[in-house]
Point group: none
DNA sequence: CATGAATGAGGTTTCATTCAT
DNA sequence: AATGAATGAAACCTCATTCAT
């Protein structure tokens, strides 16, 4: 509400965006690089995120919430099969940098903080809905449990991150995965 | 041939084992931790592997060669399908630390040295033979190209590495993958 | 202009002075000794001079600029002969530590950076003016080229640095040199 | 007398030669480089010279003895002037690496051991004879004391070591010095 | 007596975090 | 609230010296 708040909000957002960019490309990047890209002082970064781990968690949280929102949105569509597979494909296509962030986190020893855990749970819940609906619509085999399908999602994402994997190959890989999932 | 070489060999082996262990659990671990686990002085590690990157590469190389040897061995079996799926399962089951090492390497900026590259090529070649034979035996669909199947192998490995994935879930995930691969 | 800059300036100056002192006495001294003498943390030294070589260059540059300024100042005097020989004597008397620094630099492999090179050129130019004027005034023989006179300056400086050379001896040595230079 | 002695002698000589070469070019070189050039194990170097400082001293001693021998030899010549100036020129021409060694020594903190000190004294004595004879022959001014002439010798040597000093310039510099010394 | 491996102390440099303005 | 300087701990790597063969 106070004018300064606006500045602070702006800074927080700019830092998050910069961090997503920086850590997405180099999991081991220094906090100072984030500050430089965000065009704020290093101390400002630490004012908003008292710890590097907290910064990483915040970035991860944002990513997960974004995915959750997309899943929720897709859950409203008519074609449950397209919704499920479309979401799966999107996650795999875009997850390169999310992965890098998760790795940076786990390298820090801390196994994801409260917020990130919640965001992950929310995302998984939304994905579970997509899966359920796709199974009820007959698009996905009924004997596939959530845990293994989610593991497949994670695996496919990570596989797609493999250095130099061409999009065409990635798509053919996904076709193999989808053939195993269809009923 | 010379007497002391025996000790040196021992140390080199001990360092490699320690490194595999240490970097398998924490890609960012320090070289000193490796030395401590191997029970040698830090300088001894650097005598055998003049650079941290070289140490990482050596560990990765050993792992890849081990996998290649297993693939070659399996290629001699009669049942080409079992050979292929068996190898796939083994790789996925054991690759947790291989991954961590590859990541530590790529975090170091250097994209894997000569030896590691060769070992990787050898492993992929051996895996290609397994795939070919499984396809000719009708155990794997013929329209699955090597690139995507290999990407799937990598992805499944990485997916299995997901923190706290239970073996049972991992196996069910693999069943989904295998159903997509079978003809 | 910004408040903290004052502190930083102070620190930078303190570090330079400390470095001049430390490296003047022991060319191989560690950066940590400089930090200790300057009463700052080691990282502060590296913030101001990102590399040990850069620190050495900075010290050398300061020294050379100081000498250049003195030469320029003397060039304004009426008695060109006194100006020339006075400068020569000053350089020889004070150059003990400048030498040590130049050696530390060359030991580092890097043959003096941009700034130091420029400072050296400026100093040589100013010395050249002193020589010219002394020759035109008939105080120094005309057939003495700049290169050899400068080499003589360097040599006399280094000779004076010889361990335990007494000032009286140094002065008599300079008299011999000056007799060779007079017309 | 025992056969092994011959080997040891050989090794000692080879090490000294290698050390002269290595330290002549890089005062900060490691002892291992000396061992490599001498084609002996590092431990062999330390068997002959229990300390790096002792090795440096030995090299310096050899050099000084060599110079002393030359001075003694020249002292037998008829033309005392040529003998003196010839020796002076030789010292200056060849002293580049001697200097480097002396610097390496002084960088080590130790101010030259017993043997090196004696060798230095011997060399100075022989040079003193050359000077005396040249003065009595009227080739060098009588009012030049030994201390300052020796300082000049050292200075000229060091000046000649200046990076990239061309031989022609060095010779012209020496002419200036000699003009100051002549009676 | 020679060798090469092993060692620990120390040097340079980076980085997350705190302090002073 | 924002900044940038300061800091110490730790990382990687080197080297003189010692041990075991």
């Amino acid at each position: 509400m106070r004018p300064l708040r606006a500045d602070a909000r702006d800074n927080r957002a700019r830092i998050l965006i910069a961090a997503e960019d920086v850590f997405g490309q180099a999991p081991n990047a220094s906090t100072e690089e984030v500050a430089k890209l965000a065009e704020v002082g290093i101390a400002t970064v630490f004012r908003h995120f008292p710890t590097k781990v907290e910064l990483l968690e915040a970035v991860l949280t944002v990513r997960l919430e974004r995915l959750r929102d997309r899943a929720i949105e897709l859950a409203g569509h008519d074609d449950a099969g397209s919704a499920f597979f479309g979401f799966f494909t999107q996650v795999v296509s875009e997850s390169a940098s999310k992965l890098a962030i998760a790795e940076a986190l786990s390298a820090s020893g801390s196994a994801a903080g409260e917020a990130a855990k919640e965001a992950g749970a929310g995302m998984r819940a939304a994905f579970g809905v997509l899966l359920d609906r796709a199974q009820q619509a007959g698009a996905v085999r009924r004997d596939a449990g959530f845990a293994e399908v989610y593991a497949l999602l994670v695996g496919a994402s990570r596989g797609a991150t493999a250095a130099g994997l061409e999009p065409a190959v990635r798509d053919r890989m996904l076709e193999l995965v989808y053939d195993g999932l269809r009923s």
